[in-house]
């Protein structure tokens, strides 16, 4: 099953490679990984999207906790949470398709952030599956380039990852 794991770690050089190295050394999947500093500059927050059986996910969380620099780990899938990913899509549009692409994008909540003669760049945020669905609906031959950030997530209500 797909899991979104959030963690806080000391914002030190090499911290990212400790986490990515753990995943490669133990053969765990990484679908995406995003990392940035938090409001406390001594901490980084990382979101890892991974998949595996319950046993594997349990091991992943234990192994992450075992890393000396990791302060706290939260499996967002253990409770209600919100997931968001940013995607930019560059689409080739001749006049005849332009309206159609715009309509489709609008219906998925996309925003046109750049338009030139034959090219549109559309920005989306949403859960990863929503972004997947948009791409499925779009005529593949029109797509020039796609960039996705990987998911970030946050617990709903009073579920907080903080020290």
């Amino acid at each position: 099953m797909r899991h979104i794991i959030s963690l806080l770690m000391e914002n030190e050089s090499g911290a990212l490679s400790r986490v990515s190295g753990l995943f490669s050394a133990r053969g765990y999947n990484i679908e995406s990984l995003s990392v940035a500093p938090t409001e406390d500059p001594s901490l980084s927050r990382m979101t890892i999207v991974t998949s595996g059986s319950d046993e594997i996910i349990e091991q992943i969380i234990k192994q992450l906790n075992k890393l000396i620099d990791v302060v706290k780990v939260l499996d967002l899938n253990d409770g209600r949470h919100i997931e968001r990913e940013l995607m930019l899509v560059k689409v080739k549009t001749s006049k005849q398709y332009r309206d159609e692409v715009q309509q489709l994008s609008n219906s998925f909540g996309g925003r046109i952030i750049d338009a030139s003669e034959n090219i549109l760049i559309i920005e989306f945020t949403g859960a990863s599956t929503e972004l997947d669905n948009y791409l499925k609906s779009l005529n593949n031959s029109l797509v020039v380039e796609i960039i996705r950030t990987g998911a970030s997530g946050i617990g709903r209500g009073d579920r907080v990852l903080k020290i």
């Binding site: 770690m9 000391e10 090499g14 490679s17 000396i68 990791v70």
Partner: protein, 576 residues
């Protein structure tokens, strides 16, 4: 009072002194010259110059295994650090507390492919508990403090501190922190009392209880508590290769080692028990074989371990108890003593009868016609002559298994070997570490002609530091364990396992200034060992080259991937 202003190198040395370090095993080089200059001007610890950095780490590792203190190694940048990696990985797999200090090129040269530069922190990251690159002289003392704290607490392990050359030459105040705390690192100590009660209830009501203990008991100084608990409840017990000595082998409850080359009775009891108490062990592939087969016979498993990640890693655990094994065992003992129901069901039970029947199989007997030297016999005689009191180090292979099987240990920290990584070449540097720690004790290195050649250069270190180690070389002219697998599983195709062009070990030992003996007849085993351990040779390293039966195999054997009870026995019986 104002703190003293000293160089970074002196800060590093003072920090080691603050940690009461007695020995530093190392090898100098460009990036650590400042540190060596500071070592030259101090006398609080002894520096042991090895002949290869790998041996420095192994010797420091053995020093730790034998004493329980943190072992310390010092190497230079680049090749010094990469040579140390095998030693670090060996210590990491067996959770040995160590601090390795490596020199690094000056901070301004990092990343420029400077002479003897390598990304030491990157290279060692997967095989250390933690590592640090110190970029500021002000951080040297606190980083070394952290390194010792991390190495020795929780599940122990090696910690590396990489120090660039320029900051060892700069000067700063020396302030060594008294205490350390890390918000991201808080190892548990006591086990959960609810879990302890549940575990006790299960054990008391078990019909076929069994205890299996590992290296964690030795590392956690828990063997006294384990012994008391096991005796209180009258439980049968087995030790892993790493756990030998954690429970006295001479006690009637001890079933011998378990696992790939474990005894018939230990493996059968592991397979057939209904409640298993695992203490400081990790259910690894060489110990329980195929996990599905292991669980095919239903059993409840209690697992005591300091490392939560060890729990339910290979086998699902019913009652996990995370904590310091000694404290958890002491809590188990005190809880048991307050219980009304102290009748353990095990005494005179069917279960003990079954175990006794398995023992009768006498799985460790071997044929000996008194001509060719049987390696098992050499170990048995070694045990006899040293009264079972020696520190026994081993390399990796058949000789290692025979030493584990035929030298029963009654005390922890006497059996020093590479269990997890299985590193050939550790035996001699391990013996050095033990002998330095215990200069008046007998130290024997059980090895083979293949393993010993992997760190043979350390005979020179032994000469320099007058280390009277006795080397028991079980010389069968083969990489014995490789040969055994090739015989069993590869149709007798002995690919590259014959040790051709061997040196004359007697002359080799003599050329390093030691005593060499070649023993070719079974009837000479005892006299040779007696001579080697005699007062006359007490101060000398003796290299005993035993020319053994070439085709002897280690039994019992659980083939890789098979279940624990699917043993091949010496008499040819299989698939039981």
């Amino acid at each position: 009072m104002k703190a003293e202003i000293i160089t970074g190198a002196e800060i590093a040395i003072r920090s080691l002194q603050k940690e009461n370090v007695k020995f530093v095993f190392g090898y100098p080089g460009g990036a650590v010259l400042n540190i060596y200059d500071a070592i030259f001007q101090q006398s609080s610890f002894k520096h042991v110059l090895v002949r290869h950095e790998q041996a420095a780490v192994h010797a420091a590792d053995a020093y730790s295994r034998a004493t329980g203190d943190v072992g310390v190694a010092l190497v230079t940048s680049g090749p010094g650090a990469t040579n140390a990696v095998t030693g670090i990985a060996t210590a990491h797999m067996d959770s040995i507390p160590m601090v390795i200090i490596s020199g690094q090129v000056p901070t301004h040269a990092i990343g420029q492919d400077a002479f003897q530069e390598c990304d030491t922190v990157g290279i060692t990251r997967p095989c250390v508990k933690h590592n640090f690159l110190v970029k500021d002289i002000k951080d040297i003392a606190s980083t070394i403090k952290k390194a010792f704290y991390l190495a020795a607490t929780g599940r122990p392990g090696p910690v590396l501190v990489d120090i660039p050359k320029d900051i060892t030459a700069e000067t700063a105040e020396f302030i060594y922190p008294e205490n350390i705390s890390l918000r991201s690192y808080n190892p548990v100590k006591h086990g959960h009392s609810g879990q302890i009660n549940k575990a006790l209830e299960l054990l008391i009501n078990a019909e076929r209880p069994m205890v299996y203990s590992g290296g964690g008991v030795v590392l956690g100084n828990a063997s006294e508590a384990l012994t008391e608990f096991v005796k209180l409840l009258g439980l049968p017990i087995t030790n892993t290769l790493m756990g030998l000595g954690g429970f006295p082998a001479s006690h009637e409850s001890f079933l011998g080692m378990l696992g790939m080359h474990g005894t018939y009775q230990a493996n059968m009891a592991m397979q057939e028990c209904d409640v298993l108490l695992a203490v400081g062990a990790r259910f690894d592939d060489r110990v329980i074989g195929n996990p599905e087969h292991f669980l095919a016979k239903p059993k409840k498993i209690i697992h005591i371990d300091i490392d939560p990640a060890s729990i339910s890693k290979r086998v699902k655990i019913d009652i996990p108890i995370v904590g310091d094994v000694r404290l958890v065992l002491e809590d188990l003992i005190s809880t048991f003593k307050t219980q009304k129901n102290k009748n353990s069901k095990t005494s005179d039970s069917e279960w003990l009868k079954a175990i006794n029947q398995w023992k009768e199989k006498d799985c460790m007997s071997y044929e000996d016609d008194g001509t060719k030297i049987k390696p098992q016999k050499v170990i048995q005689k070694l045990h006899e002559i040293t009264n079972g009191e020696a520190f026994i180090t081993s390399d990796v292979g058949q000789h290692q298994m025979w030493a584990a099987q035929y030298y029963p240990f009654n005390k922890p920290r006497r059996w020093i070997n590479s269990g997890g990584l299985g590193t050939m070449g550790v035996g001699l540097p391990y013996a050095m570490g033990c002998q330095l720690a215990f200069p008046d004790s007998q130290v024997a290195c059980v090895t083979g002609e293949a393993s010993i050649q992997m760190c043979i250069q350390e005979l020179s270190t032994c000469k320099q530091f007058n280390l009277p180690v006795k080397i028991i070389n079980l010389n069968n002219r083969y990489m014995g364990m490789v040969r055994q697998w090739q015989e069993f599983f590869y149709g007798n195709r002995y690919a590259e396992s014959y040790m051709d062009a061997l040196p004359d070990f007697v002359k080799l030992a003599e050329s390093y200034g030691h005593v060499g003996m070649k023993i070719e007849k079974s009837s000479d085993i005892e006299s040779a060992l007696k001579e080697a351990f005699s007062p006359k040779l007490k101060e000398r390293l003796v290299f005993l080259d035993f020319i053994t039966d070439q085709t002897e195999n280690v039994f019992p054997m659980v083939p890789s991937g098979k279940g624990l009870s699917e043993m091949i026995l010496a008499d040819g019986a299989e698939d039981l």
